[in-house]
Structures are given as C-alpha cells and as structure tokens.
C-alpha cells in the first residue's frame, strides 16, 4: 500500500494511512465494551419478551392473556387491546426518501397481521425467563387470510415503483437497446435468481429504555442514531429532544440497525407504562421476521456485443419481492449505469407485493445481488466469444460516466484487474471449463469487477482540548465493528499533531453532534471530514489564543506559519509543547465544531465510485459437487486508505459475504405459510472459518480529491460487490456448470458433473 501526501498543512507526521490496531480492541476483548443488552439502569429493570404471530396475513380474532397474567412475576402484558395510542403506520410509500428513516413504527396497535411473527403481544416480567414462559401461555385465535408469498407465482402483478432505494430513478434508457440486441451477432440473455437473505449480525437487536419524566433514554444497538431518535420521537409522539439514543458499541449491523425495530419501540412503550426500565432483545429466530432482510429477486441480464467484445447493448431488468405494507425497492441495477460503456442501455426495477415484513438495506444494497448476476453475465459473454474476461472488461471501459455523461473522479478499475491478474497468476487459467483436474477434484479460476458509489452525508463533530492538552472528540457517529473509533482518533491526531493516544473519541450518544451515522459506506468520509474540520477549527482557536494571551510565547506573533507537530506548536523558530501552551493561554480549555455538507458540486460534477477486482480459485469435488474456496484476492482502488488494517478487515469481511452469497446463504420462505423456515444460525448458513481460506487484499495507492477533504472513499460494502460472481465464474471454469440460481449449492452443480469414472482416476 502506498500513500499519497496528506492534504494537511501542518507538515508533520501523519497518522492517517498507518495500520494501527483498534483503539477499542482491548476493551472489546476484555469485556469492558458495553453492548445494548448489557447496559444497566437505576431502578429495577423489567424484562420483555415478544410473542409473534403464527400466521402471515389476517387478523387476531381473539387473544387470551388470562393464564399468562396469573404467572408470578409477570408485570404487564401488552396487546393491541391495551397498547398505548400511537400514530397510524401510514402509506406503503413515504412522501420522501428521508421519511422512511423517521416515520412512526407503531407496534401492537391494531388486530391486523401483516407478516409472520409480527408482534402480537409483549410480556413484561421480573425476569426474562418468566416473561418467555408466560408468553407461551397466551392463546391467540386468528382469522387467517390467503397471502401472497411466492415471487415467481405473482410476476403478473409486478409494478414499477416511483423510485428505488436512495431515490434513484426506477428506469434508465439510453439509445435503443432492443434494436441493438436484435441486430447483434453475439448475445447473452440470462435469468438469474437471488434469494432472500438475512444480515445476522452477531449482536441481536436489543434495547433498554429508561424514562425520566417526559424524556426517554434508549440504550440500543444502532447504526444511525439520528434515525432512531427521529423514529422514536415520531412513534412516541414526543419532541426529538426528549429522546436520547445511546449506542457506544454495536456488534455488527450490516444495514439491519438503521431504523427502529420492535425491541426499541416496545421497550419504550412498556417502560413508560410501567414507569420502570424495560429491556427487550429479539431472539435470533425473531430477527428473521423483525429486523429486515434482503428480498428475493429475479434478474434478467441481456448483453449484446460485436465479435471483438465491444458491448453494443446492456439491459438489466430486476423484479424483486416487496412488502405489501411498506415498499422497499433495492437499487439492484443502478450500479450498471456507470460500469461499462455501451451505446444502447436500459435498466428497470419492478416489484411484486408479498406478505412479508419490509426488506431493508443489507450490506451493498443494489450491488450485492445485482453484481452477482451482472458480473456472471459478463463472464458468459467472455466465454461465448472466447475472450479473456479481463480483456472483455477493458474493451468496455468507459471514458466518462456512460449515463450521466460526466467525468469520473478517480477510477482505476482496469488497474485493479491488471494488478490482480499479475499477483494471482491469472495467466495460468485454462479458458476451457473442466480442464484442470487434481485427482477427484476440479479446479477453476474466476474473476469479477467491483464498483460501489461513493457518498458523503451531512455531519458535525465537536472537539475539545483541555488546559493540559488532552483532546476529546464527540459526535453521534457509531462504530459498528468497522474501526471508526480508531480512524477518527487517527484523523484528529494527524490534524492536531498529537499522538493517537492523546485523543479520546466518544461516539454513540445522540447528545453529541449529529452525523450521518454508519451506513452506505459513508461513515468514514462523513464523520472523518467533520472531525478533521473541527480539529482545523480548533487549531485556529488555539493559534488565536496563543497570539492574544500576554503570557504566551507567541504573543503578538503575526502572519507566521504555525505548525502543530510532535505534540507541540512551532512558529518563528520556537517550539512549545501544546500541553504547556494550553496551560498558559487557555487553562479552561477550548472547544470547536466542525461540519461537512451533504454531497455537493463534486458529486454532481463527478461520477464517484470505489472500485475493485476479485480473483478466486475454487475446488469442486467431482463426485459430490462440494465447492470449497482455495484462495481469493481482491485488489481495491478506493481513494486514500485511512487505516490499512481496519480497511483490510472491511474488505475481507465483504469477500466472506461474497462466499456466503455465492455458495450458501439463503433464507427459505415457505410459499404456503409465508415464514422463513431456516431461521437460526444452524440452518441459515454463513461461511465458517473452515470455508474461508487465506484471503488477500491489495490497496492501490490513490487519493480522490473530489471525494472529501481526506481523499478517501467508502470501503464498507465494496468487498461484497462482485465477490460472489467471481466465485460462480470460477465454478463455471472448474466444471462447465453455469448456475444462475443463487446460492450455488451442490445439488445444482451435481447434474452437470460426469458420473463416477474408472477407479484409475482416483488420486
């Protein structure tokens, strides 16, 4: 990894770009980091357990809580009959994109059942066990209605939504795709399916709600505190200032903790009712229905090209399941509007209403399922014309953003592919599928490109230096396991010329200045820029005090360059330790705020993305079709890397998500009953250590001056993008089996493998 020169004027040593260990690492491994369910409160905490619906669509005809109420230790049972009045849920499509995050999410407010396992009762008791036991004594009688659960069976009802997630246009159209496709000598016309999937963070969704008068403090596991604050204020119908959200540590979010879920709403309602702190956690099983998912999709990818591999047309049509009561349209085809050049192009998103809970943002919304399909289609095209898949992509590298017709800020996709090919030994790949065999194992190589849009969100930060030079940084940003505490300390230390250990970063409290939170891979850019700007502002205040205080060694100094370096201030040949200077000029300390605006001209005028290329070697058992990854490399071009160590963790985490998506992750929805069947970690398979070989990540050295003051780009989701497609392409190379229904489990490959050959083939 190489670093460009940092953009700072201090000229001192920068901590940015150093592979620092996590500053919160020790507290995590020693158990001192407090997670949502571990918070304590003054007063006796009561424990809630949520009872979920046993049908997916219909009404509660009768609910009998009499037996449960008699259980010793039960304090309160909330159902739609006695739940506090809350605002109605409202329309399936909110007036604005932002409203999705802030709308009221009432619980137990009607007798209607909209999805399987939707809360129908909350039992609050002195202990969790009592609450859970009593919940089993509640009997519910349902008036069940026939729901729609099967995407494929309801395609006739597909409709075009007003917009996709994040506010993108549903459709895009350039040139005349159909004509180009019809006239083309080479075409790919393939249907891919991607399954329902669940985030499954290690830490389940959990909340402790504590009321004090008319204000509530909510200890929870949240990625974006401002959303939680607004969502709870709307639901509880109290001013946002009366809601405090505390979430200092988050055991993974992956998009499932961007908005409030039943644990948070019900804990706050019950705590207000009981005038007692109430704690509620979702069980792992409950998370499958109540904490978001990625919806099932059917994707059609059509490519047309000339015989030299130049694309003449690209069409990507996506049909996704969506909840009947709240729309979510994943922007699955949007990435393709910027990826490859072609004169004729078309993307379309359609939805089919089903009776499930709402799909939500899941790591790389859009690219994760979209590139799984699209980057396989590119591989199909390469195979069809007998061209190396890297060469095919290079031939279609656009000079400018092909649909927005604006320049890219920085784009080094080609370099990622070429560097990766060199390091991975891509030249050893045999183009003919099934041609590399080791004993009873078929071996294949595959690759895919990665692209992920770069964002920035409005954020503020506060930094304070006390009279002894100790620095505290505060903002309502979260660290969801990504390394935010660490990189913000590095940024502040770099700006102020201090060692990282001198910076105390405090996150996860909505009393701190508001940020864009963790989501959309924008956390580092947004919070990092705000912290940087706050520190720059603080330096100006320190300099002003140093010039103005009579006791200061820099008193009266004017127009000289003043540097903050090595924990000291240097100017005019003089160097004074910052701690000593503060004691002299501002013994009570100094404060400064910093902010960054939401995406502005640099985002309108430049097409901004981070890029990568994934390379994979797989081994497929010729008899059983079991596929195991042997090695994987990702080469990443994502602006300045703030901390190569935590950044690498982000990328390999994404690559492992790619392994899961390609080979095993699938939430099975029973099309008769509408519930997710494999709703625990024994049956919903995510890769385990034995599935993950040594993964390698290379960062190309670059900085994007248009992205933000740091020159960085988002990396939290990039590792997922295309990673699964590279694996599927490697399976094709190994076996000749092109499996378009993800995940690529062994039962799908098996029919393509030859029957057991002679014994002499055994190794």
């Amino acid at each position: 990894m190489t670093n460009s020169t940092p953009a700072f004027a201090d000229g001192g040593k920068t901590h940015i770009g150093q592979p620092m260990d996590r500053v919160d690492g020790a507290s995590k491994v020693t158990g001192r980091a407090i997670y949502a369910y571990e918070h304590q409160a003054e007063g006796h905490i009561a424990y809630g357990y949520i009872l979920g619906a046993g049908i997916a669509r219909g009404r509660i005809a009768a609910i009998d809580t009499a037996y449960a109420e008699k259980v010793p230790g039960v304090l309160h049972i909330m159902t739609h009959k006695n739940a506090p009045t809350q605002p109605a849920f409202g329309p399936a499509v909110t007036p604005t994109v932002r409203d999705v995050f802030t709308r009221a999410r009432p619980m137990l407010s009607t007798d209607e059942i909209r999805y399987f396992d939707e809360p129908v009762a909350l039992v609050v008791a002195e202990t969790f066990e009592t609450a859970r036991g009593a919940a089993g004594l509640i009997s519910v009688e349902y008036a069940s209605e026939q729901g729609a659960y099967d995407l494929r069976g309801h395609l006739a009802s597909a409709y075009a939504p007003q917009r996709t997630n994040a506010g993108f246009e549903t459709d895009s159209l350039v040139g005349d795709f159909e004509a180009a496709f019809a006239a083309s000598p080479v075409k790919v016309d393939a249907i891919y399916t991607t399954p329902y999937a669940h985030h499954n963070p290690m830490e389940p969704h959990a909340t402790l709600a504590v009321w004090s008068g008319d204000a509530v403090t909510i200890y929870t596991s949240a990625q974006t505190l401002a959303n939680f604050r607004a969502g709870m204020a709307s639901t509880l119908q109290i001013p946002a200032e009366k809601v405090r959200i505390v979430s200092p540590f988050v055991g993974g979010g992956f998009g499932s903790k961007l908005i409030v879920h039943p644990d948070t709403v019900l804990a706050a309602l019950a705590a207000r009712e009981l005038q007692r702190p109430v704690k509620i956690a979702l069980t792992r099983q409950q998370m499958f229905a109540n904490a978001g998912h990625r919806a099932k999709m059917i994707q059609s990818v059509r490519l047309s090209a000339d015989r030299e591999g130049r694309l003449t047309g690209i069409a990507h049509d996506v049909c996704s399941a969506t909840s009947r009561f709240e729309e979510f349209c994943e922007q699955t085809a949007v990435f393709g509007r910027s990826l490859y050049a072609a004169p004729n192009r078309m993307t379309r998103h359609r939805l089919v209403k089903v009776d499930t809970n709402r799909g939500e943002w899941m790591r790389s919304p859009g690219e994760a399922p979209g590139m799984l399909a699209f980057e396989c289609a590119m591989d199909e095209l390469a195979a069809q014309i007998g061209m190396d898949p890297i060469e095919l992509r290079i031939r279609n590298e656009p000079a400018i953003d092909p649909e927005r017709n604006i320049p890219f800020s920085t784009r080094n996709l080609v370099e990622c592919m070429q560097e990766g090919a060199r390091r991975f030994g891509w030249e050893k790949r045999q183009a003919r599928p099934g041609s590399v065999r080791e004993g009873r194992t078929l071996v294949g190589l595959g690759m895919a490109a990665a692209i992920r849009p770069n964002y920035i969100g409005a954020s503020e930060a506060r930094v304070r230096i006390d009279g002894r030079g100790k620095v505290t940084v505060q903002l309502d940003m979260t660290d969801i396991g990504t390394g935010t505490y660490t990189i913000l300390a590095q940024i502040a230390a770099s700006s102020l010329g201090l060692p990282v250990a001198a910076i105390d970063v405090q996150l996860g409290d909505s009393n701190f200045p508001r940020t864009a939170g963790s989501g959309g891979s924008w956390g580092a850019a947004s919070a990092g820029s705000a912290v940087h700007n706050a520190c720059e502002s603080l330096k100006q205040k320190i300099v002003a005090s140093a010039r103005e205080a009579v006791a200061s060694p820099f008193y009266g100094l004017s127009n000289n360059r003043i540097d903050f370096v090595n924990a000291a201030i240097r100017a005019g040949g003089r160097s004074v330790r910052l701690a000593d200077l503060m004691a002299l000029v501002a013994p009570h300390g100094l404060d400064a705020q910093g902010a960054v605006e939401a995406a502005g001209d640099n985002y309108r005028n430049y097409s901004q993305h981070s890029y990568g290329a994934h390379f994979v070697e797989v081994a497929v058992d010729m008899d059983t079709a079991e596929t195991r990854i042997r090695r994987m490399l990702s080469v990443i071009g994502a602006g300045r890397i703030l901390n190569p160590k935590t950044a690498r963790s982000q990328i390999i985490g994404g690559m492992i998500w790619g392994i899961g998506a390609a080979l095993m992750e699938e939430s099975v929805l029973d099309a008769r009953h509408g519930h997710f069947l494999n709703h625990d970690l024994a049956e919903y398979h995510v890769p385990v250590s034995a599935d993950v070989p040594d993964l390698n990540v290379i960062f190309l050295g670059e900085a994007d001056p248009n992205a933000n003051v740091l020159g960085s780009k988002g990396i939290g989701e990039l590792g997922v993008c295309g990673a699964g497609a590279a694996i599927a392409n490697a399976i094709f190379n190994a076996t000749g089996a092109r499996i378009r229904a993800f995940p690529v489990t062994l039962d799908k490959i098996l029919p393509a493998l030859p029957v057991h050959a002679s014994l002499a083939d055994g190794s």
């Binding site: 059983t624 095993m664 009953h673 385990v688 034995a690 098996l750």
Partner: protein
C-alpha cells in the same frame, strides 16, 4: 420455556427413582439439543433429572477385545481416545465432523444417540408435525424438504436423524446398553435403537419411558480400512446432506468384507445388507461400486426438494468404497 423441577442424580438408582416419580420427566445430559427444544416448548418436561454426574464417563476394555463407552463420555473425549483413534477411526472421524468444538465438549454419547431431528417444521410450533403433535400432519411433505429422508420414510414423516456418531456406530455394529426404570439391564443392537416413522413418527426409539442408556459397546476392532465421509453445504458446522461410514477388509485384490452405513438419509443410520453381501468376494471396480450403490438406494424415494440426495448418496458411496478398497 415451561417451568420445570430439576434434580441432580448421583447414581443410577437416584436417576431412575427421579423419572419413576412422574410420567413427564426427562434425563438431561449435555443438553445441547434438549435445552433448545425446551426453550421453544417443543419439549415440555415437568421434571429434569440431570445424569451428568453418574459414573458413566469411562471408556473401558470389555475383556473380549471391544470397548465399553460410558453414556456420559463427551463426544470430544471419545474422539480423542487413543483406542478409538487407532481401532475405530471411522468413529473418531464421524465425531469430529459433527457440530462444533464447543458442542462436542458438552454433548454426551448417550445424548448424541437420542438427539432429535432438525426438520424445520418440527421446530416451528405453528406448523403441523406428526412427530411433535401426532395426527396434525406433515408440513415437510409438499414443503421445503431438501434435508429430508430418502429411505425408510412414510407419508406421516420424512425427517432424518442428524447424528454422525450413530452412523459410525452402526457400521461398527455397536450395542447400546440400557437400564430400565425397574433396574433391569438390556442390550439393544444399534440398528434396533431407532425406529422408522411408519404411522407413529413421535415414537423415535425402542426405549421405554424412564429407560436410560448407560453405555455403548463396540465389538473388537474390525479388520480393514475405515472412512467417514460427510457431504454438507459448508465445511464445518452443518448437518450431513449425505454421509457414508465404511469399513472394508481386503483379502489380496478381493473384498473380504465390506460394511457401510448412510447418514442424513433416514430416521436412523441406514445399512444395506444387500449391498454389503453383493460386495463380498468381489474385485474392486467402478462397476462393482456402482452396483453396490444402486442396491443400497434401490428403494429410495425423493420428495421433491431432496431428490438430489439419491444420486448424491450413490456417488458418495462409490467415492468412499473406492477410497477404502485401495491396495496398500
């Protein structure tokens, strides 16, 4: 979870008295499956008798060349025992392919045999299930049944037994020793312990109420090569789609004796006497193994989602037989 009373038994008499007191008591050993089932209220015992402290935690020589494995021997202990590793590799391999290290540290020999199916519909009390609620129907038929049985199932139930250990014990012809509620001891061949579902899938074993497994006896180590091959969706911590435990003894270039058992295909470990008899005296070849595999799966019945298990089982049998019948 329903409230229950709990008793820690210190000897067999204590334990049997504990279950004799009522009709809804259960023994608990490692608890790796029972506690989950109790949390979900699929199991609702009124009384738990903890048998972890019973002096059944030793692996002893039988005096006739075999091994007696106490019912309280942990899966990880058993897998690591030098006598198991040298004479009964197929069992050590099967144990190590099951669950995770943490679960194996807790799970006992007796409990492993009595673990219940992982059928999704059995675990969801909102769904009909003849095993959980006799007469309510089977939601797996016509549902998502990718993991389900291809052999010995019925229209009442198509669940599979999830144990790896039991499959290896089956090919080793182990004997299960029990003590009945009145103190009577009996021996049950491993093949007779688990029942096929028929019309009574809720009755899973030959054990009577209150009858406790005290040991599993392995006969003297069999001649020949041993192998346990588990085919699954990920490399660890996944139940078998199909597994094969095999012991093949070669006499020169012919098969003196071949035994194999299948896992993940039925409500019990599955042996095929026809296939084993066919192999005896044959020279190893792809054609011979193919015929043996065909014989073992002759009565297989797919239910839609699990149709692939039939060719998968055949292919895995052939791969395993080829591996264990090599010379040298």
């Amino acid at each position: 979870m329903k409230p229950f009373t709990y008793q820690r038994a210190l000897d067999a008499g204590d334990a049997l008295a504990g279950v004799a007191a009522g009709r809804n008591a259960k023994f608990i050993s490692g608890g790796t499956n029972l506690l989950d089932l109790m949390k979900l209220e699929i199991e609702q015992p009124a009384h738990l008798v903890d048998i972890n402290r019973l002096p059944l935690d030793r692996i002893e020589d039988t005096g006739q060349g075999g091994l007696r494995i106490g019912a309280q021997v942990r899966n990880s202990t058993l897998a690591a025992d030098p006598r198991i590793r040298s004479g009964y590799q197929v069992l050590a391999q099967a144990l190590l392919s099951g669950a995770s290290g943490q679960i194996r540290n807790k799970a006992s020999t007796g409990g492993n045999l009595l673990q219940r199916t992982r059928c999704y519909y059995f675990y969801d009390r909102n769904m009909p299930c003849n095993k959980r609620e006799p007469g309510s129907g089977c939601a797996a038929l016509g549902g998502f049944n990718r993991m389900h049985a291809i052999l010995g199932s019925s229209n009442a139930c198509i669940a599979v037994h999830p144990s790896d250990m039991a499959v290896a014990m089956s090919v080793l012809d182990a004997t299960v020793e029990t003590t009945d509620i009145d103190g009577t001891a009996r021996q049950i061949h491993i093949g007779d312990l688990h029942r096929l579902p028929g019309s009574t899938p809720h009755i899973e074993t030959d054990l009577r109420y209150g009858e406790m497994i005290t040991a599993v006896v392995l006969p003297p180590a069999k001649q020949g090569r041993q192998l346990y091959r588990k085919v699954r969706d990920r490399a660890s911590y996944a139940f078998a789609l199909v597994s094969v435990a095999a012991v093949v003894d070669m006499a020169g270039d012919t098969i003196a004796a071949a035994r194999f058992a299948l896992g993940g295909v039925a409500a019990k470990p599955w042996r095929s006497p026809e296939a084993e008899a066919f192999l005896q005296g044959k020279k190893p070849s792809a054609q011979v193994f193919e015929k043996a595999a065909d014989a073992a799966l002759a009565n297989a019945l797919g239910r839609g989602g699990n149709d692939f298990k039939i060719p998968l089982a055949k292919r895995t049998i052939q791969q395993v037989l080829a591996a264990v019948s090599q010379r040298g």
